[in-house]
């Protein structure tokens, strides 16, 4: 069942590859759209079949591959990967839909889009860390070409920078993965047996020494820290976003960055729990610095896309904070934040793309008055305001749920770091309202008096995302119920063992009480 998500888009790639050049290029779009729709339908079907109460992996598929090196084709699904998989399928469809129908070299473009989808789905489903790594690396290739060929004026620079950073990230990760497997004495790269060896029986310190874990954790943090990205490993992202076309930016922000946070949770928290708990106060500090840095940079930007890109850096840092706290609530919050960020940043990039397409500019000091009801972009502007409100954590939208859960779940463990992150989320309103005020309010200047009208095809994908942002904001259990049970299994220790927590000793009594109350409230909501 899961292989369909990996191989069906590859089938689409193959079909587009053998497509006769003489055929009308518009069919390439239709093929890509057809594949993307089928993938989304299949993912939703899987979500219906998924049993949220089951702790173990589901829909497992195992095929021995290169047994000599311990590499097997093993896919499975759990509560951490399911929401991200849905996000991947949804945003791929939206990205293909939002692509300019007159795009150059359509067969190659759509083939790369489908290849990207396949590799990301493979990475989320892989139950073998080497298989994960292969998919993780495979995803770099289509993304590099998508930026380098269909990007903006400085696309070559941005694509090369992206390639260098992510290739380095891959090397570091491979080294860490090999270290984990070899040092733990595992016979293969299979995830679950590896975790069983390292973590051992429940609620006991792991099999790998803390020192070794810390060394390996450095690689994991750098590797995934580049991908997410966190300050100061982030410099490739604003360039990549600015140069990438709108659909690629949507996928980049919405899904691809999540590979980093997913990896951090699955392989950082999951495989190196002692090091994670040991480093967690500093990880929370890192999250706060990254959030405040992203926020400060966003305030200074002039390019709308850069504002959204830096906002993305700030909001991704909340996932690190939540993961560092490693409470039941904060781990659920991390998943919520991933989904929420995927939807909101996807929406914002889509809308910035429409603004750019219609006005030819993203300059906040040039654009003005775009909310003009007759000659401006009133619906696009309205949805942008909603997106901004969601990002700033206004209640009723999914951003509020994820940020509230993040801060509530993290505050008892790391109050100071959480407060700084809360400051960053407060400042979200500053940079986004600056953007809204400059770009959408005021009188439409004469230079922008002749903006072409927006088609419903431009508005539809954004409208779908807005609807989801509201739906999940009003009914967050649609996300929480998938992950609640299985995310709990990822939490390193309950309670934290004394040899680790001696480094940092929160008020256990208060912490447990708060978490229990909140977890209970979430359970009640989910049950509703």
């Amino acid at each position: 069942m899961l292989s369909f998500l990996v191989w069906f888009p590859l089938g689409g790639v193959l079909l587009l590859g053998v497509w006769p050049k003489s055929m009308d290029p518009k069919y390439a779009r239709s093929v890509a759209l057809g594949v993307a729709i089928a993938l989304l339908v299949w993912t939703i079907y899987l979500a219906f079949l998924f049993n949220p109460g089951q702790i173990t992996m589901q829909f497992g598929e195992f095929v021995p591959w290169i047994t000599a090196i311990g590499l097997n084709y093993h896919l499975a699904l759990d509560g951490l990967s399911l929401p991200l998989l849905v996000l991947n399928s949804l945003l791929t469809l939206i990205a293909i839909w939002s692509t300019d129908p007159e795009i150059e070299r359509p067969r190659f473009y759509y083939a790369l889009m489908l290849l990207l989808n396949s590799s990301v789905a493979g990475a989320f489903l892989a139950q073998d860390i080497l298989l994960f790594f292969l998919f993780y690396e495979l995803e770099i290739i289509p993304l590099y070409f998508l930026i380098a060929i269909w990007g903006g004026a400085r696309r070559g620079y941005a694509a090369t920078k992206f390639l260098l950073y992510t290739a380095f990230s891959g090397i570091v990760l491979l080294a860490s993965f090999l270290g984990i497997v070899w040092l733990s004495g595992a016979s293969s790269f299979a995830y679950e047996p590896l975790r069983a060896i390292i973590v051992g029986a429940a609620d006991t310190p792991s099999g790998l020494s803390l020192k070794l874990q810390l060394i390996l954790m450095v690689g994991i943090l750098i590797g995934f820290g580049i991908k997410i990205p966190f300050f100061p490993l982030h410099t490739w992202l604003p360039d990549a976003h600015v140069e990438a076309s709108t659909p690629v930016s949507v996928l980049l922000a919405g899904v691809l960055l999540k590979l980093g946070t997913y990896g951090l949770l699955r392989y950082g928290v999951g495989l190196l729990p002692d090091a994670w708990v040991y480093l967690s106060p500093w990880l929370a500090v890192w999250a706060a610095i990254s959030a405040l840095y992203g926020t400060s940079c966003a305030i200074l930007q002039q390019d709308m896309k850069k504002v959204v890109a830096y906002a993305s850096i700030a909001h991704m840092a909340f996932i690190l904070l939540a993961a560092a706290a490693s409470t039941e609530l904060s781990m659920i919050a991390a998943v919520c934040q991933m989904v929420s960020h995927g939807l909101i940043s996807g929406l914002l990039f889509l809308l910035v793309g429409v603004v750019y397409k219609k006005t030819g500019s993203r300059d906040m000091f040039f654009l003005r008055g775009l909310l003009n009801p007759e000659r401006g972009l009133p619906l696009i502007g309205s949805m942008m305001i909603l997106g901004v409100m969601a990002s700033a954590g206004i209640p009723g939208m999914v951003g509020f749920i994820s940020e509230f859960l993040t801060f509530r779940g993290s505050f008892p463990i790391f109050p100071v770091q959480t407060l700084f992150c809360m400051l960053a989320t407060g400042l979200t309103a500053v940079y986004f309202l600056l953007m809204i005020n400059r770009v959408f309010f005021g009188r439409l200047p004469d230079e922008l008096d002749h903006i072409p009208s927006v088609q419903w095809s431009d508005r539809l994908p954004a409208a779908v995302l807005v609807a989801l942002i509201f739906l999940l904001g009003i009914q967050p259990s649609f996300i929480v119920r998938w992950s609640e049970t299985q995310i709990a299994a990822l939490i390193p220790y309950h309670p934290r063992p004394p040899q680790i927590t001696s480094v940092y000793q929160p008020d256990q009594h208060l912490t447990r009480n708060s978490i229990d109350v909140l977890a209970q409230s979430i359970s009640i909501r989910a049950a509703d």
């Binding site: 003009n372 007759e374 000659r375 009188r443 002749h450 009208s453």
Partner: protein, 377 residues
């Protein structure tokens, strides 16, 4: 050889327009598209003005001192069908007519304003008030306590009537213009201006009167003896109040009153139709938007076809209508300038030319912040 004395070219900022007017041309550039736009929009404006005029006169005559005139826009025809249409907003926005009436009332001007402040007027309305509230001691007591209240209401009703009578004439002029255009008699912008000017001149001395009937007794509120006439007592104040001064209605213009961004004197106001920015117009409820909404129902097909060729087709129809309307208002203003000039603008007499130049330069000072340059782009 004796050379004819020539007037020096004007050094005014808008000298081009002064020279254009002196050459017998209009403020709006002559082009087939401009003619089409102006005539087309004035046709729909004529239809709308007809409705506005009827309603203003109806209110003046039949809603006299009615303090809760719930059905004042129904013209006496109140039935469930019309009420439903009204609530569904399938109707003419008569509020716009009242907005113009209030602008005239507030800015005043002409002998009408003077007459309404005269003791003769106060003497004339007292019997009406007594008759109207003969069996209403509460209102009579109120009248005694606040003697300015009811006269002010009646002054406003006089403006209702006066504007209604003014628009009656203008509506006919615009519909005639459209008919003549359809017959091929109107070919250029100067033709349009000439038609309007002749219409204004023809009715210049038409008396403006107003009388109400209470219990079969007729009361003259604007009697013929007041010698109020169409041109000088309604047309000129109307142009001044609605074309030039207007009001800084929130939504049409942004301003900070506390920072003195509103002129100290009413005479310095420049918020009228010739200054209105078509772009911010588009939010519901703003007076100019109401007019655009009304006009869009009566646009001739040839004008709609032009609008549909625009970048946004009918999406920005109200803005396109407003732009055409502004062009047409500059034509009406040209006719008014020609009509009020001390001498014919094309005169050969150097002394008359000088007097005309002074007159035109005075007007052009007021046009500097207007949309004159934009409509000619």
């Amino acid at each position: 050889m004796v050379s004819t004395p020539q007037l020096e070219p004007s050094q005014h900022k808008l000298a081009d327009f002064i020279h254009r007017l002196e050459a017998g041309k209009a403020l709006l550039q002559d082009s087939p598209l401009n003619v089409l736009e102006v005539v087309g929009i004035l046709k729909s404006y004529g239809v709308v003005l007809d409705a506005y005029s009827n309603n203003l006169i109806y209110i003046a005559n039949h809603q006299f001192l009615v303090f809760f005139p719930f059905f004042k826009y129904f013209n006496g025809e109140v039935n469930p069908g019309k009420l439903l249409k009204f609530l569904w907003h399938d109707r003419i926005n008569y509020e716009y007519a009242e907005y113009c009436m209030k602008a005239m009332f507030w800015h005043g001007g002409g002998d009408l304003d003077t007459y309404l402040d005269s003791s003769e007027f106060l003497a004339a309305i007292e019997p009406v008030i007594q008759a109207k509230f003969k069996f209403n001691p509460l209102m009579l007591a109120l009248h005694r306590a606040f003697p300015e209240f009811l006269p002010e209401q009646i002054r406003q009703l006089c403006y209702y009537s006066a504007l209604g009578q003014f628009w009656r004439v203008m509506s006919d002029i615009f519909i005639d213009l459209s008919d003549r255009y359809d017959q091929g008699e109107i070919q250029s912008i100067p033709d349009v201006v000439e038609h309007i000017l002749q219409g204004l001149v023809a009715d210049a001395n038409r008396p403006i009167t107003y009388a109400v009937t209470l219990k079969r007794q007729v009361y003259d509120l604007l009697p013929p003896s007041a010698n109020l006439t169409f041109l000088m007592d309604t047309a000129v104040p109307y142009v001044e109040a609605v074309f030039f001064r207007g009001t800084p209605f929130p939504g049409t213009i942004s301003y900070n009153g506390q920072a003195y961004q509103i002129p100290m004197f009413q005479s310095d106001f420049a918020y009228g139709a010739l200054y209105a920015d078509p772009l911010p117009i588009g939010s519901a409820g703003i007076p100019p938007t109401l007019l655009m909404q009304d006009m869009r129902h009566y646009l001739p097909e040839y004008l709609l076809a032009v609008y549909r060729q625009g970048l946004r087709q009918e999406e920005d129809l109200k803005i396109q209508i407003c732009q055409s309307f502004q062009k047409s208002m500059f034509c009406v203003t040209t006719a008014a300038l020609q009509g009020l000039a001390p001498h014919p603008l094309t005169t050969n007499s150097i002394e008359e030319q000088k007097a005309n130049r002074k007159y035109l330069e005075g007007w052009m000072n007021r046009f500097i912040p207007s949309r004159l340059l934009q409509v000619n782009r």
